[in-house]
Amino acid sequence: MTKRKAIKTAFTVIVSLVLLVLLWEGYKWMGQQTEDHWPGTQLGLPVSTDDLTMPHASDIFNELTDEIRAGRETLPMTVYLAKKAAFTFLEAAIGFSLGVIVGLMLAIFMLRWRFAEKGFLPWINVSQTVPLIALAPIVVTWARLQGYPDMVGISLIATYLTFFPVAVSGLRGLQSPDSSDVELMRSYAASWSSTLIKLRLPAARPFLFPAFKLAATLSVVGSIVGEISIGTKTGLGRAILDFAQRYSVWPERLYSSVIAASLLGLFVFGLVNAAEWFFIKRGREVLK
């Protein structure tokens, strides 16, 4: 059952990858034939197909296995990117965890006191309209002045992005039980905190996990943007920044770092999916 599903997923992934490459190369080939025009027209293509804008897929994949000099050592690109990604992952993981804690605490706080919901919710919404690019240097400068390593500041930026979906969906989930379920707990003379632990939190899980998935990918985005905007020494953001500056001479490198970033996003998404299965679906499997 689950094995068949795994095979199916793997199959879909491979097929879509192949399709993507075919599309990329097909478009590029077409553009090369018509000098970047739609066939038979004078209409220009939206993206030009020269090797600088769209390097060959094979060149990008080759780049991944090529060597790169990092300081004194030379490494295969995959290993180099994996090392950078590991660092970014750590920042994202810290940011995600903090974001989940802060988000859940806010949700519980707003659940407990209605005035908090009225007072906080608008501010929580406003908080997300502050542009990340403006916020990042402020947070990181603050962290540096406190003498913290850059990782702290970057994780805080990731936290800033992740707490939001958790707080909003968490509140909805905590409020989701029927009034008769709440009355049942009251009939047992259950305290507010027991009601939270035995009823509201378990009932909130189906609301929380979609938020966690969003938060996980946002935490990666937040970490990378954080790294880029403050210019750290390491991390995927750093790699992207370096490669972006030399895009005109070596475009394949930027693309390979972008691939690494998406893979990292997929990886954290998968982690949350696994956690969801563990915390919700596992028990229900007995059903079928």
Binding site: L184, R205, V286
Partner: protein
């Protein structure tokens, strides 16, 4: 102390209770007015009446899920609030209200968990309860795997797991089909006899009220008042009882009272 001995046999005693929802506002509702009701230990009382006449509200007053606007509600000689804190009653709603993330035994153990029972004690008790409601082989099932009737039996087992002296039920069989319903009625009477629990049972069904109860309380609406109390004595009831002339007579009596209520 004196009050206690006075009310020794009284499971519930309600004096001049009123309940007004949203007082002093445009949508003020006088849900109950001047309710006087005594329920003896071991009684099986049904509350019946037209929709919106305040049956659920009355049950919630006894359960201390609502507070009366005036008058007093005593449960086993204590305030309703104290009785709730002492967990003197168990509650069953129309929709089983089982938590779908807990399997059957974990649902039954919920109130025991809240009371801080040890795991071994909880398991022993939930096993007993599953025997009582005859669902032993379903202990590891999840609520969604059970039929409506089975879910209600789990809900009853959960309500009785901590051996409350009073069982409050709000249309517990309202969502069940007729055959399952009749079967559940017989089962409930067996449980009632085996445990000696006092039952207050809200229903819309005339035959259900007549079959189950030692006393049927008929309410009239707007504002909710007690119209009449009908004493029923069908002795030991089985499915056969439904064909007895005594049963027919009891249903007729309840029906006529309800007609009188409808006629105003």
């Amino acid at each position: 102390m004196r009050e206690n001995s006075e009310n020794l046999e009284e499971a519930v005693s309600i004096r001049a209770a009123d309940k007004v929802f949203n007082p002093d506002s445009d949508n003020e509702v006088q849900a109950l007015l001047g309710i006087d009701l005594d329920i003896k230990e071991g009684d099986f009382i049904s509350l019946i009446g037209p929709s919106g006449c305040g049956k659920s509200t009355l049950l919630r007053l006894i359960a201390d899920l609502l507070v009366p606007t005036a008058g007093e509600v005593k449960v086993f000689g204590k305030t309703a609030n104290q009785a709730r804190l002492d967990q003197d009653y168990g509650m069953v709603f129309q929709h089983s209200g089982l938590f779908d993330w807990r399997d059957v035994s974990a649902n039954i153990e919920l109130p025991l968990e809240l009371k801080g029972w040890s795991k071994a004690d909880r398991q022993a008790r939930s096993k007993e309860m599953l025997e009582l409601v005859r669902l032993e082989e379903f202990k590891d099932h999840y609520p969604r795997q059970l039929s409506g009737g089975m879910q209600q039996r789990v809900s009853i087992a959960r309500a009785l797991s901590f051996e409350p002296r009073l069982l409050l039920m709000d249309e517990p069989f309202g969502a069940l089909d007729e055959m399952t319903r009749e079967h559940m009625q017989v089962e409930l009477l067996r449980i009632w006899r085996e445990t000696g629990t006092t039952v207050v049972f809200v229903t819309h069904s005339i035959p259900e009220a007549a079959f189950l109860s030692s006393k049927v309380v008929v309410l009239s609406p707007r504002p909710g008042r007690i119209h009449s109390e009908i004493t029923v004595d069908l002795g030991d009831r089985t499915d056969q009882t439904r064909e007895d002339p005594e049963f027919f007579q009891a249903t007729t009596e309840v029906r006529e009272a309800l007609r009188a209520v409808e006629a105003g």
